[in-house]
Symmetry: C2
Subunit: 231 residues, 2 copies
Amino acid sequence: MVLYYSEYNKFLVAVDCIIFGFDGQELKLLLIKRNFPPAKGEWSLMGGFLKKDESLDNAAARVLFKLTGLQKVYLEQLYSYGEIDRDPGERVISAAYYALIKIDEYDEKLLKKYNAKWFLINDFPNLIFDHNIMVNKALKRLKRKAQSQPIGFELLPEKFTIPQLQKLYETIFQKEFDKRNFRKKILGFQVLQKFDEKEKKSSKKGAYLYRFDQDKYNRLIENGYSFEVNV
Amino acid sequence: MVLYYSEYNKFLVAVDCIIFGFDGQELKLLLIKRNFPPAKGEWSLMGGFLKKDESLDNAAARVLFKLTGLQKVYLEQLYSYGEIDRDPGERVISAAYYALIKIDEYDEKLLKKYNAKWFLINDFPNLIFDHNIMVNKALKRLKRKAQSQPIGFELLPEKFTIPQLQKLYETIFQKEFDKRNFRKKILGFQVLQKFDEKEKKSSKKGAYLYRFDQDKYNRLIENGYSFEVNV
DNA sequence: CCAAAAGTGTTCAGCTTACACCCATGA
DNA sequence: TCATGGGTGTAAGCTGAACACTTTTGG
């Protein structure tokens, strides 16, 4: 094999994952307590180094799987961080990804193995390196995306109620919505399929369950339809 | 120095720049004809390899300066590309950046030196590797950003007319606007400062010149003001 | 029977959109 | 004098925002 670029420097490349979950009340963040240097014992995002035989996307999926046991979850590249001294150990370029997971599906044993813990999005410890910056950017991205694309559903179970969905949007946008207007808006998109079943855990009356119809959404999108939640 | 991460693989890291300009009529893209292998003689984005002593942002600024002679221009990270075989020469991770430049300010000699040429945004040659994908993503980003932030001004000279601004938005969004509504909307933001001077190149009557007031915009932003162009 | 959450319609204000004519001037 | 692009106002429709009461049922 001919090496065209042999004169140039090579770098360590990492991926870091900002993992969001929703417990029905609050938006949460999954963090690990590092048990290796540098910054051993401090809180951090889950990360890992890129390997020769994998793409950045695959590396992020691998890291996410390693911690949660989950596959096929919403995972999107956020931003790449390349400041010279961002990692005090050695120079590392890091591609940050954020994931939206259904919080009741993660693997409890793996979380213990990696000293991982869920934190409230507005009450979590200081993180190592530039990880706080990454989390802030991920939150901004989540807000923007959730406004114009139906990604909120990634954080909810397959079947959910309108009040649950509203609570999710309220915690993402840190803002309360009028329930009549919210319901009108969301149902107006015509991408929710209603079940006859009710969810009765959070009220005596019970709330009807719905499901996001991805196929219908895809069809609507092709016709220039737009999903826009007013914040 | 202790090396914590010595067991991991290192990679070549590059930056590629999607450079946009506006000639008063059309949105344009600055491309170079590669005079080095692989893919010698083919059209490509301007790029370069990351050096030990510079951040990703600095590398992108260096590459942009090398080709255009311009500094302090609008330059934003777009996305990082890490597929294994994206560069047939050798494995390279590339961070793509996009730049908005004032088209009459670039350095003609440098463009000649690098075999660079401006192309219309909807009529440019096939590019090497994944550069077409990068350009598409940059275009989408530009559209989104221009809708919610006053970055269009980066593509215009310091003093510009309302019809020029409208033409710019029309070429970015590939859509015509009603001139009365456009003017109303833009002037309604109250961030344009009007001069008594007129620009008389494009009409006999002449059009008043304006300037984007960055300070005023910054002040408005602090108070929750939002710049939103309806498309 | 009562507390707690689910569910439901209407009105008003503001914004977006559509639309047509006069003005200034160089050639 | 005329062709060319610059500049201006108003009315209709739509969308977002505000707002209060009834229903259901477990405890």
